[in-house]
């Protein structure tokens, strides 16, 4: 009897069980036969180029490569005999005549290891003289910011070419020429000028010294490395698992962890080359207090004392409601948990929020209403396996580069992509169809698609009957509302051609499995909630959720946007999405926290922008801000600045002197992600560990410590924890969705919530049985298209869109302190359609002044057809051209999100 899927095979006389269909090379290596290879890699399709893995298989003629045949029952294999070893030695000897080997200690050279193993290390042991490679010889290319390419060390294994094409879906590299002249090519021969975006997958997979990481090359000595610390990337919400290589107390290299979800070793340029900020000399190293208008260094005792006194004074004078806190999507679950605990217990208010209000609040509002949960319903892997992917208002390739690798791999395997975006994003070239509606017209477009779904009979009646509240009766209301959105009318409003509308709708509605990715383009509008409602209506009408491979994921912009709300950093929810108004839960939490239930406020707190407005109006007098920079990231930032200046006490915990920290009365130097233990929760609800790799600089301390100390000094302590692990244990008690998790379980890899008990395996796909609403059913929320309240007119003829680029991140406090990222992109700009520029007599590269009704800023003009005529785009990372001086703080009434994606502007020569 053998285990299902396992068969008996024989290698070199030893009989053992191997997985049927497994690559013979893998099965043999697992069984302890160290068959050599240079070109094979577990993530890549078999190449068969190096020929080192040849074996003999009974019944097959000659030698066969074990990287290209699969285990079959009864297979009899010779992996090692004199002839095979002679053949392998011959191949290595041949390769030595072409290529140099050996390492300088900064990289691993698998070729050199094999040369050693086959007794060829001594030149005298080699049979073949060095070939004259002058003809094929090429110089070392060090033009890339991230790597050097040395063709004289390239064994032509194709791992880099395939890493780029098959793993990352970019296809930037290819072999050029043929025969002995073959050479890896990037662009037209200069790596730095190619389409390479610096993700470094090729570096990670190169087996020799041909492609080696450039940063810190002179400092690294692999033999002196102190630690390889596995942790979670601090940038976007994918939650990539990476390993920090620590030497002399510094992070000198970052590598993706192979075989670990959610990224399987893949990283993007920020993940791999974006950790230098940790060791920036500009890190805050001492607490600062304001004295006579200036910040000066102080002891922790003094600074914490000043902060506590300030808050107590406000509380005493104006009451708890005059205090508020901005928690942080950059901080850990544990820190966010203690932060909201501090605000609720020590401040005595629910005025706690963070930047989620600026990104996905409308998505969250709509999803909660329609399906009862606002987290991504499916795993990131489903982006690869779904038959169709609808991407709307989401520049996935730049904002979530590793999520995008799944999308591109899926596309390569035959799935279809429908892209809806007013701006041409890099995903456009992969899309089967790209709809380009005018800014702010999504509701009309999506209603038009829903109308088509109904008209063409693509609705899933059974799903609607079983899974939607009110069934077909409720659907009738939607049907009646969308009836007015004829293709002609949709064309008039959005500019999208009827034939394209039909094709996009058909691809999504008729695919057996389909996923939606929705981003800031949808959510950051005054009609953001309605946009997502109309998207959900389409999804529910087609029945494309609540089953394997179908659902909606709003990729999260920051590493822990998901986790911060999960653990209660919300004016509306306690940990685990339990409304603050829920008295039973409040009583339970009060017991857990050891406070009197009456001390916990049951009323809804203020949201991010409401807090800023209240501060501006004198309602909020004291604020604690942990790791956020609202002065740059919040809309109508001139207004935010006035608000913050008007506070009695502003305390900021951060790792850098941000624009916001510069206004504070007390600045507390905090630890970066690499200096603390904790956890982040990524976009697909995976709780992932963060681990300490290096010491904090100067006197910087972990936020966990800061929060506990501050609460203590306010006379309202929030507990005393030995470490992050203990905080997490309390979170598990407070938030039922995380109830089954602890650090021991998370040590083995991320687990997706809900995970209510310690036996529960986690939940990759939500809503398979029921939605998270009270009755377990989803709901239609028919909404009409409304015109934007601020429209372009003759005085303000352009509509300005804003967003992110690949190489920078949010207010750039981290990314701009990483030399590699700065080398790629360090300059603000505005994109304008060439026709508009020509009409205004402006030329590419010129300085321009952009003004909105709020303010005006200067930046550089870039002419590009990535934007439609009449529309502009600016990245918001650069504080010298702060785009949020132009944006509005007029909010979506449902979610309180601000319309970062739509501001009427004018442009003039500066």
């Amino acid at each position: 009897m053998t285990e299902a899927g396992f068969v008996e095979i024989v290698i070199d006389g030893r009989t053992f069980l191997a997985r049927e269909g497994e690559l013979l090379l893998v099965a043999a290596r697992e069984a302890g036969f160290p068959i050599p290879s240079l070109c094979w890699h577990r993530k890549l399709s078999p190449t068969g180029a190096c020929r080192l893995c040849v074996v003999k298989v009974e019944g097959s003629r000659g030698l066969v490569t074990s990287c290209s045949i699969y285990v079959k029952a009864g297979m009899v294999v010779t992996a090692f005999d004199e002839e095979l070893e002679e053949a392998r030695k011959f191949i290595l000897d041949y390769l030595l005549s072409e290529v140099d080997c050996g390492t300088d200690g900064t990289f691993r050279d698998e070729f050199a290891e094999l040369v050693e193993r086959y007794g060829l290390a001594e030149p005298s042991a080699r049979r073949f003289p060095k070939l004259d490679m002058a003809e094929a010889g090429r110089a070392v290319d060090s033009s890339s910011p991230v790597l050097t390419f040395d063709p004289s060390r390239c064994v032509k294994c194709f791992r880099c070419v395939k890493a780029c094409a098959e793993v990352q879906g970019k296809g930037v590299l290819q072999m050029a020429e043929r025969g002995l002249r073959s050479v890896i090519l990037a662009g037209t021969g200069t790596w730095g000028a190619s389409e390479c975006d610096g993700c470094g997958e090729c570096i990670q997979l190169c087996p020799t010294g041909a492609i080696v990481e450039k940063p810190h090359r002179g400092e690294i000595d692999l033999a002196s490395v102190e630690a390889h610390v596995p942790t979670t990337c601090p940038y976007c919400g994918v939650g990539c698992q990476m390993e920090l290589l620590v030497q002399d107390g510094r992070i000198l290299r970052v590598e993706g962890i192979e075989g670990k979800s959610p990224n399987d070793g893949r990283l993007c340029v920020k993940g791999r080359f974006g950790s230098d900020f940790v060791h920036s000399p500009e890190r805050l190293m001492k607490p600062l207090v304001r004295e006579e208008g200036r910040l000066r260094e102080a002891s922790w005792d003094e600074a914490l004392g000043r902060a506590a006194e300030g808050f107590l004074a406000v509380k005493g004078k104006y009451g708890s409601g005059a205090l508020a806190g901005y928690s942080s999507a950059k901080c850990t679950n544990e820190e966010n948990y203690l932060f909201q605990k501090l605000v609720r217990v020590s401040f005595g208010t629910n005025n706690v929020d963070y930047c989620t209000r600026l990104c996905h609040a409308s998505t969250v509002t709509a999803m909660l209403k329609a399906i009862g949960d606002a987290a991504g319903s499916n795993s990131i892997e489903d982006f690869e396996t779904a038959d169709c992917l609808l991407v709307i208002g989401d520049n996935l390739i730049e904002t979530h580069p590793v999520t995008a690798t799944y999308v591109k791999r899926g596309k390569a395997a035959g799935s279809r992509i429908v892209l809806i975006d007013p701006k041409e994003t890099p995903l456009a070239r992969y899309a089967d169809i790209w709809l380009r509606p005018r800014l702010g017209t999504d509701v009309a477009l999506l209603n038009g698609m829903t109308r088509l779904v109904i008209q063409r009979g693509w609705i899933d009646r059974d799903f609607i009957e079983r899974r939607v509240h009110g069934g077909m009766a409720s659907f009738a209301q939607l049907e009646a509302l969308v009836a007015a959105y004829t293709p002609e009318r949709v064309l008039g409003i959005t500019g999208v051609a009827p034939s394209d509308l039909v094709e996009a709708t058909r691809l999504y509605a008729t695919a057996p499995t389909a996923m939606i990715a929705t981003g800031m383009g949808m959510s950051q509008q005054t009609t953001g909630t309605h946009g997502v409602f109309s998207l959900m209506n389409l999804m529910l009408a087609c029945g494309k959720i609540g089953k394997q491979g179908c659902g909606i994921d709003p990729p999260r912009g920051q590493n822990n946007v998901q986790g911060a709300t999960d653990v209660g950093a919300s004016p509306i929810y306690y940990p685990g999405y339990i409304p603050s108004s829920d008295a039973v839960n409040r009583a339970r939490i009060a017991r857990l926290w050891g406070v009197d239930p009456g001390e916990l406020s049951g009323s809804r707190g203020l949201t991010t922008i409401e807090i800023a407005k209240a501060a501006h109006d004198g309602q909020i007098k004291g604020m604690l801000i942990m790791g956020e920079n609202p002065l740059i990231t919040d809309p109508n930032s001139a207004h935010v600045e006035e608000a913050l200046r008007s506070l009695d006490i502003l305390v900021v915990q951060d790792i850098f002197m941000t624009a916001t920290a510069a206004l504070a009365d007390v600045v507390l130097p905090a630890a970066s992600f690499a200096e603390k233990e904790g956890s982040f929760t990524n976009s697909d609800r995976r709780v992932l560990r963060v681990r300490r790799a290096v010491d904090s600089p100067g006197e910087a301390r972990e936020d966990l410590w800061i929060l506990q100390e501050l609460a203590k000094r306010m006379g309202r302590p929030i507990g005393s924890y030995a470490g992050a692990s203990e905080v997490f244990d309390e979170i598990a008690q407070a938030a039922p969705i995380l109830g089954g998790l602890d650090y021991q379980r998370l040590g083995g890899g991320g687990i997706q919530w809900p995970c209510p008990d310690s036996k529960h395996p986690g939940t990759p796909t939500l809503f398979l049985d029921r939605f998270s609403t009270e009755d377990g059913l989803a709901s239609f929320n028919p909404v009409d298209y409304e015109e934007q309240s601020e429209l372009a007119d003759s005085a303000w003829p352009f509509v300005l869109n804003s967003g992110r680029i690949l190489y920078q991140y949010h207010s750039a406090t981290m990314s701009r302190r990483c030399p590699v990222l700065v080398e790629y992109a360090n300059e603000a700009y505005v994109l304008m359609h060439p026709a508009d520029a020509a009409r205004l007599g402006l030329s590419d590269g010129e300085r321009v002044r952009i003004s909105s009704r709020r303010s005006s800023i200067e930046t550089k003009l870039r002419c590009s057809e990535e934007v439609s005529a009449g529309e502009l785009f600016m990245p918001f990372h650069f504080e010298e051209s702060p785009v949020n001086r132009l944006t509005r703080d007029e909010l979506d009434p449902h979610s309180k999100i601000a319309p970062f994606k739509y501001s009427a502007c004018k442009v003039e020569r500066a």
């Binding site: 068969g48 020929r51 053949a87 011959f90 002995l180």
Partner: protein, 413 residues
């Protein structure tokens, strides 16, 4: 003197090349009509029974390929691909067919496609064959116009069409799996085999890949039956073969004769013997990937298995004659240069090996006679290791001429 027996070239000289009217008037497309009247599986059986073997060089039974392709693609669209990337030195038979009467190729492809149920076909012609590209392109267009290609062809309910694709200069693309890569718009790298094209071919779909001459034999079999075909040639190699006669002969050219015709007859009767008289130094059979026969050993029956038994290759049908005063070393050197030029460089043994062999062969020409034997011997040893470890037929080929020269022609070095 044996006579020519023309099947693939049966229309040559009787028709204006590429004229569909001439072709039909001379009996063309009658075989297709006969084929369409039969069930596809019956047709596959007939083609299998004929014993037809692939004319690209390997001599693989065509019927077996067709059967496995047909079986692999019961549920899907499969393809028929014609390999017209004729690049083996000394070989030009496919060009003669395409420039003589391209319709016979088109007709043969349609018959094969109908037999296996293919929906689309491609003819991949090497880029240097500009005249073939022109004539085959016209033949496809005319056949479509005449209702022999396209939807519901000849009212049979069966639909099939052919697209012409041209290569851009690569010998290796004549290897069937490499040809498919090239057809997909990629670099001409050989794919790992298995899977064979009959399982995973063009765009990952089962594909029948056959040579021009092979397709050109199908109309005869479809019309006259397997029996008539088996009556020609030898039991293991039925039918006829086009041989390309070149080098030091009086009348270089091509000839289509029954399999089994002797090499002597090809050289002396059809090629008019050695130019300037005398006995040839050697004859190279099958091109660069072929084998040398000493000039005194010409009484060989030319069929696949007969030659294979002697360690020789029939290959593509190239018969290259070296006159008595030629240098064998120079010939070997030009052959090794050829392999170096055409090696794609994907696998180590071939990339380095073809380069080293070309260098060694150049030395062979210059080296004193006494040392040549030893040098050739070491080349053979290296080529053997190369052959056993290389990825595709190209790296496995240099050993063929080297070994045969070493074994049979040492004294002629």
């Amino acid at each position: 003197m044996p006579e020519e027996r023309r099947i693939a070239l049966s229309y040559l000289g009787r028709v204006e090349p590429g004229s569909i009217d001439d072709y039909i008037a001379a009996g063309g497309y009658a075989a297709l009509k006969a084929a369409l009247a039969r069930q596809p599986d019956e047709l596959v059986a007939e083609l299998s029974a004929s014993g037809l073997r692939g004319r690209g060089g390997a001599g693989f039974p065509t019927g077996r390929k067709e059967r496995s392709t047909a079986q692999a693609c019961e549920e899907c669209d499969c393809y028929v691909v014609c390999n017209a990337d004729e690049g083996e030195p000394g070989t030009f038979k496919d060009r003669v067919i395409m420039e003589g009467e391209p319709h016979v190729l088109v007709e043969g492809m349609i018959i094969a496609a109908y037999a296996i149920g293919a929906g689309a076909g491609y003819i991949y012609i090497r880029g240097e064959y500009s005249r073939s590209i022109e004539l085959v392109g016209k033949a496809i267009a005319d056949a479509r116009q005449g209702g022999f290609l396209g939807k519901n062809l000849l009212g049979s309910g069966y639909s099939f069409d052919i697209e012409l694709r041209r290569g851009a200069g690569s010998y290796l693309c004549g290897e069937e799996l490499t040809l498919l890569e090239s057809l997909e718009g990629k670099r001409g790298y050989p794919r790992i085999k298995p899977p064979f094209p009959a399982e995973v071919g063009y765009r990952g779909t089962p594909t029948l890949v056959s040579n021009v001459e092979t397709f050109a034999n199908l109309p005869f079999i479809a019309e006259r039956g397997a029996e008539a075909y088996l009556a020609l040639g030898t039991p293991s190699s039925p039918g006829t073969k086009i041989f390309c006669l070149s080098g030091d002969v009086e009348k270089p050219g091509f000839v289509e004769v029954e399999f089994g015709t002797s090499l002597r007859s090809l050289v002396e009767d059809f090629a008019g013997g050695v130019r300037g008289g005398g006995r040839p130094l050697a004859v190279l059979l099958g091109g660069a990937a072929g084998t040398f026969v000493p000039g005194e050993d010409l009484d060989l029956p030319m069929d696949f298995d007969g030659l294979r038994k002697l360690g020789l290759t029939l290959g593509s049908g190239a018969v290259m004659v070296l006159g008595p005063r030629r240098s064998l070393s120079a010939m070997i050197s030009s052959m090794m240069d050829f392999f170096r030029h055409e090696s794609c460089g994907k696998c180590i043994p071939c990339r380095v090996g073809t380069h080293r062999l070309a260098r060694a062969a150049a030395r062979l020409v210059e080296t004193p006679k006494a040392e040549r034997k030893m040098l050739l011997g070491s080349m053979v040893a290296e080529a053997r290791l190369m052959a056993s470890t290389s990825l595709c037929p190209l790296g496995q080929s240099p050993v063929l001429p080297l070994e045969s020269a070493f074994a049979r022609l040492q004294d002629s070095l």
